[in-house]
Symmetry: C2
């Protein structure tokens, strides 16, 4: 089954990224965006090491997610809304995912999903169309994004085919089986970035 995103664009905007401290968590946010079906990842602040990690994963494992950066998350949100898109802000203070996801899912508008770091400016709470909580407990922006995209796309991430992949995993009950697309055996761990 091929994965068809019915919204045209579902982009993830990571705001408040602090280059030293957040590099790994932000990279995980970007990897989740790709693996769970978003078609764009935008990083506020141009941390090339994060962007390059994501591009490297895409060169090996395929897919065509847009990876870019912007200098101001606020400006990015303004222009997203001005062009007719809607904005979802993930925050533990928001409305329960289960209560709002159906409303978000039926709207055909392009969606910008905002994922914050520790402090988030008031602007995002006020200007987002939806403030959504994946549980009202502290956990992680990585897990919050994964659950949000899972519910938005009704679990179809499991069937996405990532075009242009050089390596593909053959699911295995023990060990690692990786094939090179177009023939040959891949090297496990080659460019895998993370265990999951």
């Amino acid at each position: 089954m091929d994965f068809v995103n019915p919204y045209g664009r579902v982009y993830v905007l990571r705001i408040g990224h602090r280059p030293g401290r957040d590099k790994r968590v932000t990279t995980h946010v970007g990897l989740v965006a790709r693996a769970f079906g978003a078609n764009g990842f935008v990083l506020e602040g141009c941390d090339e090491s994060v962007l390059e990690s994501l591009r490297k994963v895409m060169r090996v494992w395929g897919g065509s997610m847009v990876v870019e950066c912007c200098s101001s998350g606020v400006e990015y949100v303004r222009s997203w809304k001005a062009s007719g898109g809607e904005v979802v802000h993930l925050t533990m203070y928001g409305l329960p995912l289960d209560d709002v996801i159906d409303v978000i899912r039926v709207s055909p508008r392009p969606k910008l999903v905002i994922v914050g770091a520790e402090k988030v400016e008031r602007f995002y709470y006020e200007e987002s169309d939806y403030n959504v909580a994946v549980g009202n407990q502290p956990h992680s922006e990585v897990s919050a994004l994964a659950l949000f995209l899972d519910r938005l796309f009704r679990g179809r991430w499991a069937y996405i085919e990532f075009r242009g992949a050089k390596l593909r995993i053959l699911p295995s009950s023990r060990g690692k089986m990786v094939v090179r697309v177009g023939g040959g055996r891949g090297e496990p761990d080659e460019g895998s970035g993370d265990v999951h």
Copy 2:
């Protein structure tokens, strides 16, 4: 609705933690364990800063998850199995979550869910009862664990009541509403650790 875990114990074992580099990601793994219904978090290698972060979140936001460390993940797995428990290893090389979760769910045995860092020893692939992939794509151990627990407990994390919480969030369409349990207004951000 109160959350009843039918397995007695669902523990998460984080292996291969590197104190400097992995502190934040490992803390997120621990927070996900708690928020999504595990009742124990075990860290291989006793990094007190991670354990203390988790305990702090529990003092503020409640819950009774066991938080502990062990010197050897291998020994921990051996003794878990010796006492009749089963072991699930999350890895992008494993069998698809959707294909195995029903089998895992119906078994009443206590479950140890292993979450690795970058390199995972062969032992874990061989000795686990299940090697499970939350998609065969690289993303994050944080998101993999969240999805696994979500499917295991059929989304009941949304209804867990964390006993002994000092603060509780009132879901809000805009802004932050936090109450102090037993009366009064809480301070948003107090001990929240992370945005989500």
